[in-house]
Protein backbone atom coordinates (compact mmCIF):
# COMPACT_ATOMS: atom_id res chain seq x y z
CA UNK A 1 0.00 0.00 0.00
CA UNK A 2 1.21 3.48 -0.73
CA UNK A 3 2.62 4.99 2.41
CA UNK A 4 1.19 8.35 3.42
CA UNK A 5 3.92 10.54 4.76
CA UNK A 6 5.02 14.13 5.06
CA UNK A 7 7.64 13.78 2.37
CA UNK A 8 5.10 13.14 -0.34
CA UNK A 9 5.91 16.44 -1.98
CA UNK A 10 4.18 15.71 -5.25
CA UNK A 11 0.96 14.93 -3.47
CA UNK A 12 1.17 18.06 -1.37
CA UNK A 13 1.90 20.31 -4.28
CA UNK A 14 -0.52 18.89 -6.78
CA UNK A 15 -3.44 18.13 -4.58
CA UNK A 16 -3.11 20.30 -1.53
CA UNK A 17 -4.09 17.25 0.48
CA UNK A 18 -2.68 17.15 3.97
CA UNK A 19 -1.49 14.07 5.75
CA UNK A 20 -4.32 14.29 8.25
CA UNK A 21 -6.92 14.74 5.56
CA UNK A 22 -5.71 11.70 3.70
CA UNK A 23 -5.50 9.52 6.76
CA UNK A 24 -9.02 10.55 7.71
CA UNK A 25 -10.17 9.75 4.20
CA UNK A 26 -8.64 6.30 4.38
CA UNK A 27 -10.23 5.66 7.77
CA UNK A 28 -13.62 6.47 6.26
CA UNK A 29 -12.99 4.05 3.42
CA UNK A 30 -11.88 1.33 5.78
CA UNK A 31 -14.97 1.86 7.90
CA UNK A 32 -17.13 1.49 4.82
CA UNK A 33 -18.57 4.93 5.45
CA UNK A 34 -18.43 6.04 1.84
CA UNK A 35 -20.51 3.80 -0.35
CA UNK A 36 -19.22 4.73 -3.75
CA UNK A 37 -16.86 7.06 -5.53
CA UNK A 38 -18.46 10.14 -7.03
CA UNK A 39 -16.74 12.35 -9.59
CA UNK A 40 -18.78 14.94 -11.44
CA UNK A 41 -18.09 17.86 -13.69
CA UNK A 42 -19.28 21.13 -12.19
CA UNK A 43 -18.25 23.43 -14.95
CA UNK A 44 -17.49 22.26 -18.46
CA UNK A 45 -15.08 24.99 -19.44
CA UNK A 46 -15.47 27.15 -22.50
CA UNK A 47 -17.88 24.90 -24.38
CA UNK A 48 -20.06 24.70 -21.25
CA UNK A 49 -20.80 21.13 -22.27
CA UNK A 50 -21.61 20.20 -18.70
CA UNK A 51 -23.12 23.43 -17.48
CA UNK A 52 -25.37 23.06 -14.48
CA UNK A 53 -26.76 25.28 -11.80
CA UNK A 54 -23.73 25.19 -9.52
CA UNK A 55 -21.27 25.54 -12.38
CA UNK A 56 -23.20 28.49 -13.76
CA UNK A 57 -23.21 29.98 -10.28
CA UNK A 58 -19.41 30.00 -10.26
CA UNK A 59 -19.27 31.55 -13.70
CA UNK A 60 -21.79 34.17 -12.62
CA UNK A 61 -19.67 35.11 -9.61
CA UNK A 62 -16.61 35.59 -11.80
CA UNK A 63 -18.56 37.75 -14.24
CA UNK A 64 -19.90 39.93 -11.45
CA UNK A 65 -16.46 40.24 -9.84
CA UNK A 66 -15.02 41.54 -13.10
CA UNK A 67 -17.82 43.98 -13.85
CA UNK A 68 -17.26 47.29 -12.00
CA UNK A 69 -20.69 48.46 -13.14
CA UNK A 70 -22.30 45.74 -11.04
CA UNK A 71 -22.92 46.97 -7.50
CA UNK A 72 -22.15 43.47 -6.17
CA UNK A 73 -18.65 43.48 -7.64
CA UNK A 74 -17.16 45.10 -4.54
CA UNK A 75 -18.22 42.13 -2.44
CA UNK A 76 -16.33 39.74 -4.68
CA UNK A 77 -12.96 41.41 -4.49
CA UNK A 78 -10.61 39.11 -2.60
CA UNK A 79 -8.03 40.83 -0.38
CA UNK A 80 -4.70 39.15 -0.99
CA UNK A 81 -1.39 39.95 0.66
CA UNK A 82 1.68 37.78 0.48
CA UNK A 83 -0.19 35.16 -1.46
CA UNK A 84 -2.80 34.69 1.28
CA UNK A 85 -6.20 36.15 2.10
CA UNK A 86 -5.42 39.30 4.08
CA UNK A 87 -6.85 40.15 7.50
CA UNK A 88 -8.38 43.62 7.94
CA UNK A 89 -6.61 46.28 9.95
CA UNK A 90 -9.27 46.40 12.66
CA UNK A 91 -8.10 43.05 13.97
CA UNK A 92 -11.51 41.37 13.84
CA UNK A 93 -12.35 38.60 11.49
CA UNK A 94 -11.59 39.70 8.02
CA UNK A 95 -15.16 40.01 6.81
CA UNK A 96 -17.19 40.29 9.97
CA UNK A 97 -17.99 43.98 9.96
CA UNK A 98 -17.18 45.05 6.46
CA UNK A 99 -20.05 45.49 4.01
CA UNK A 100 -17.58 45.32 1.19
CA UNK A 101 -13.87 45.13 0.68
CA UNK A 102 -12.09 48.46 0.50
CA UNK A 103 -8.37 48.76 0.03
CA UNK A 104 -8.12 51.10 3.04
CA UNK A 105 -9.53 48.40 5.32
CA UNK A 106 -6.45 46.27 4.80
CA UNK A 107 -2.75 46.68 5.47
CA UNK A 108 -0.62 48.45 2.86
CA UNK A 109 0.32 46.16 0.03
CA UNK A 110 -3.00 44.33 -0.01
CA UNK A 111 -4.39 43.67 -3.45
CA UNK A 112 -8.10 43.35 -4.11
CA UNK A 113 -8.43 40.68 -6.79
CA UNK A 114 -11.69 39.86 -8.59
CA UNK A 115 -12.87 36.38 -7.63
CA UNK A 116 -11.24 33.81 -9.87
CA UNK A 117 -12.39 30.19 -9.55
CA UNK A 118 -8.94 28.95 -10.56
CA UNK A 119 -7.32 30.58 -7.52
CA UNK A 120 -7.28 28.40 -4.40
CA UNK A 121 -7.05 31.42 -2.09
CA UNK A 122 -10.13 32.88 -3.68
CA UNK A 123 -12.04 29.71 -2.93
CA UNK A 124 -10.89 29.99 0.69
CA UNK A 125 -12.34 33.51 0.75
CA UNK A 126 -15.64 32.53 -0.80
CA UNK A 127 -16.22 29.45 1.33
CA UNK A 128 -15.33 31.12 4.64
CA UNK A 129 -18.41 30.48 6.79
CA UNK A 130 -18.02 33.91 8.41
CA UNK A 131 -18.18 35.53 5.01
CA UNK A 132 -21.89 34.88 4.63
CA UNK A 133 -22.58 37.60 2.17
CA UNK A 134 -23.11 37.56 -1.53
CA UNK A 135 -21.30 34.59 -3.06
CA UNK A 136 -21.65 32.23 -0.13
CA UNK A 137 -24.94 30.94 -1.52
CA UNK A 138 -22.98 29.76 -4.52
CA UNK A 139 -20.78 27.69 -2.24
CA UNK A 140 -23.89 26.27 -0.62
CA UNK A 141 -25.20 25.43 -4.06
CA UNK A 142 -22.07 23.45 -4.83
CA UNK A 143 -21.84 21.84 -1.41
CA UNK A 144 -25.42 20.71 -1.09
CA UNK A 145 -26.80 20.31 -4.60
CA UNK A 146 -24.28 17.56 -5.10
CA UNK A 147 -25.29 15.58 -2.08
CA UNK A 148 -27.82 13.02 -3.08
CA UNK A 149 -30.03 11.85 -0.25
CA UNK A 150 -29.69 8.27 0.86
CA UNK A 151 -26.70 6.04 0.61
CA UNK A 152 -24.86 8.51 -1.51
CA UNK A 153 -21.30 8.29 -0.32
CA UNK A 154 -21.19 11.77 1.13
CA UNK A 155 -21.76 10.90 4.76
CA UNK A 156 -24.08 13.84 4.96
CA UNK A 157 -26.25 12.83 7.86
CA UNK A 158 -29.38 11.92 5.95
CA UNK A 159 -29.58 8.27 6.97
CA UNK A 160 -29.68 6.34 10.21
CA UNK A 161 -26.50 4.61 11.19
CA UNK A 162 -26.28 0.93 10.39
CA UNK A 163 -26.89 -1.30 13.39
CA UNK A 164 -28.20 1.57 15.48
CA UNK A 165 -24.71 2.68 16.35
CA UNK A 166 -25.82 6.31 16.29
CA UNK A 167 -22.93 8.77 16.35
CA UNK A 168 -20.33 6.11 16.98
CA UNK A 169 -19.27 5.76 13.40
CA UNK A 170 -18.47 7.82 10.36
CA UNK A 171 -21.33 6.62 8.21
CA UNK A 172 -24.23 8.60 6.80
CA UNK A 173 -25.56 9.62 10.19
CA UNK A 174 -25.21 13.14 11.45
CA UNK A 175 -23.62 14.33 14.71
CA UNK A 176 -26.52 13.06 16.80
CA UNK A 177 -26.93 9.85 14.93
CA UNK A 178 -29.95 10.83 12.86
CA UNK A 179 -31.93 7.84 14.14
CA UNK A 180 -34.92 8.52 11.84
Amino acid sequence: MTEVNNTDKKNEVTSGATLGKRLHRRSLLKAGAIAAPVALTLHGGVPLAHADSAGLCVINLMNIANNPADNRAAMLQVPIKGGQVAAPKNGTHKFELLPEDLANDYPPGTQLQPFDASNLNHWEFIKDPLNQRFGFSCVNSIEFNYRINGNNGWGNGDQPAPGGSLPNNNAENGPNGNPN
Binding site: M1, T2, D8, K10, N11, T14, S15, G16, A17, T18, K21, R22, R25, R26, L28, L29, K30, G32, I34, A35, A36, P37, V38, A39, L40, T41, L42, H43, G44, G45, V46, H50, A51, D52, S53, A54, G55, V58, A117, S118, N119, L120, W123, E124, K127, I142, E143, N145, Y146, I148, N149, G153, W154, G155, N156
Partner: protein
Protein backbone atom coordinates in the same frame (compact mmCIF):
# COMPACT_ATOMS: atom_id res chain seq x y z
CA UNK B 1 -30.46 16.83 -6.46
CA UNK B 2 -31.06 19.50 -9.02
CA UNK B 3 -32.77 18.91 -12.32
CA UNK B 4 -29.68 20.18 -14.09
CA UNK B 5 -27.41 17.74 -12.28
CA UNK B 6 -29.64 14.81 -13.03
CA UNK B 7 -29.61 15.78 -16.70
CA UNK B 8 -25.85 15.96 -16.55
CA UNK B 9 -25.45 12.57 -14.91
CA UNK B 10 -27.67 10.92 -17.49
CA UNK B 11 -25.82 12.65 -20.26
CA UNK B 12 -22.38 11.88 -18.88
CA UNK B 13 -23.00 8.19 -18.51
CA UNK B 14 -23.62 7.97 -22.22
CA UNK B 15 -20.14 9.18 -23.06
CA UNK B 16 -18.15 7.16 -20.54
CA UNK B 17 -16.09 4.40 -22.11
CA UNK B 18 -17.51 0.95 -21.65
CA UNK B 19 -16.23 -0.61 -18.46
CA UNK B 20 -16.75 -4.06 -19.93
CA UNK B 21 -13.95 -3.40 -22.37
CA UNK B 22 -11.78 -1.41 -19.96
CA UNK B 23 -8.17 -2.55 -20.27
CA UNK B 24 -7.22 -3.47 -16.72
CA UNK B 25 -3.52 -3.66 -17.63
CA UNK B 26 -3.34 -0.18 -19.15
CA UNK B 27 -1.19 2.08 -16.96
CA UNK B 28 -2.58 5.54 -16.18
CA UNK B 29 -0.97 8.51 -14.51
CA UNK B 30 -1.82 12.09 -13.60
CA UNK B 31 -0.12 14.21 -16.26
CA UNK B 32 2.87 16.11 -14.85
CA UNK B 33 1.84 19.24 -16.70
CA UNK B 34 -1.79 19.11 -15.63
CA UNK B 35 -1.37 22.02 -13.21
CA UNK B 36 -4.50 20.95 -11.39
CA UNK B 37 -5.69 23.41 -8.76
CA UNK B 38 -7.37 21.84 -5.76
CA UNK B 39 -9.78 23.15 -3.19
CA UNK B 40 -10.23 20.62 -0.40
CA UNK B 41 -13.51 20.88 1.46
CA UNK B 42 -14.77 19.00 4.49
CA UNK B 43 -16.11 16.03 2.57
CA UNK B 44 -15.43 16.88 -1.04
CA UNK B 45 -12.67 18.13 -3.26
CA UNK B 46 -13.01 20.51 -6.15
CA UNK B 47 -10.37 20.51 -8.84
CA UNK B 48 -9.96 23.08 -11.58
CA UNK B 49 -8.13 21.96 -14.70
CA UNK B 50 -6.59 25.04 -16.34
CA UNK B 51 -5.98 23.11 -19.54
CA UNK B 52 -9.64 22.55 -20.21
CA UNK B 53 -11.31 25.09 -17.95
CA UNK B 54 -13.26 22.21 -16.42
CA UNK B 55 -14.13 22.11 -12.75
CA UNK B 56 -14.76 18.71 -11.20
CA UNK B 57 -16.04 17.72 -7.78
CA UNK B 58 -14.93 14.46 -6.14
CA UNK B 59 -16.17 12.86 -2.96
CA UNK B 60 -13.64 11.39 -0.54
CA UNK B 61 -13.74 7.95 -2.16
CA UNK B 62 -13.00 9.28 -5.61
CA UNK B 63 -10.41 11.69 -4.21
CA UNK B 64 -8.45 8.82 -2.68
CA UNK B 65 -8.57 6.90 -5.95
CA UNK B 66 -7.09 9.88 -7.76
CA UNK B 67 -4.54 10.36 -4.96
CA UNK B 68 -3.35 6.81 -5.60
CA UNK B 69 -2.70 7.78 -9.20
CA UNK B 70 -0.88 10.89 -7.97
CA UNK B 71 1.36 8.60 -5.93
CA UNK B 72 2.53 6.99 -9.14
CA UNK B 73 1.41 5.45 -12.42
CA UNK B 74 -0.54 2.24 -12.09
CA UNK B 75 -2.91 -0.07 -13.89
CA UNK B 76 -6.46 -0.69 -12.80
CA UNK B 77 -5.44 -3.99 -11.25
CA UNK B 78 -2.69 -2.26 -9.30
CA UNK B 79 -5.13 0.42 -8.20
CA UNK B 80 -7.56 -2.22 -6.97
CA UNK B 81 -4.75 -3.96 -5.10
CA UNK B 82 -3.80 -0.69 -3.38
CA UNK B 83 -7.43 -0.04 -2.52
CA UNK B 84 -7.77 -3.52 -1.05
CA UNK B 85 -4.88 -2.77 1.29
CA UNK B 86 -6.57 0.46 2.42
CA UNK B 87 -9.81 -1.30 3.33
CA UNK B 88 -8.10 -4.52 4.47
CA UNK B 89 -10.43 -6.53 2.26
CA UNK B 90 -11.25 -7.32 -1.31
CA UNK B 91 -13.81 -4.86 -2.68
CA UNK B 92 -17.10 -6.49 -3.60
CA UNK B 93 -18.29 -6.70 -7.19
CA UNK B 94 -20.39 -3.55 -6.97
CA UNK B 95 -17.56 -1.51 -5.49
CA UNK B 96 -15.13 -2.86 -8.06
CA UNK B 97 -17.52 -1.87 -10.82
CA UNK B 98 -17.93 1.60 -9.28
CA UNK B 99 -14.16 2.00 -9.15
CA UNK B 100 -13.79 0.96 -12.79
CA UNK B 101 -16.47 3.46 -13.81
CA UNK B 102 -14.79 6.18 -11.80
CA UNK B 103 -11.38 5.48 -13.36
CA UNK B 104 -13.03 5.60 -16.77
CA UNK B 105 -14.58 8.88 -15.69
CA UNK B 106 -11.18 10.26 -14.63
CA UNK B 107 -9.85 9.37 -18.06
CA UNK B 108 -12.87 11.00 -19.67
CA UNK B 109 -12.37 14.13 -17.57
CA UNK B 110 -8.69 14.29 -18.45
CA UNK B 111 -7.56 13.89 -14.84
CA UNK B 112 -5.53 10.81 -15.79
CA UNK B 113 -4.11 9.59 -19.05
CA UNK B 114 -2.57 6.35 -20.27
CA UNK B 115 1.19 6.14 -20.49
Amino acid sequence: MSFFLWDFIKGDLTILPSTQSFDRKLVFHVPDNAGLIWSEWEDASIVYDPRSGHTQVLNEFARELLALYEDGPKSLDQLLAEFSKIIDAEPDATTTQNIIETVAGFDNMGLIEPI
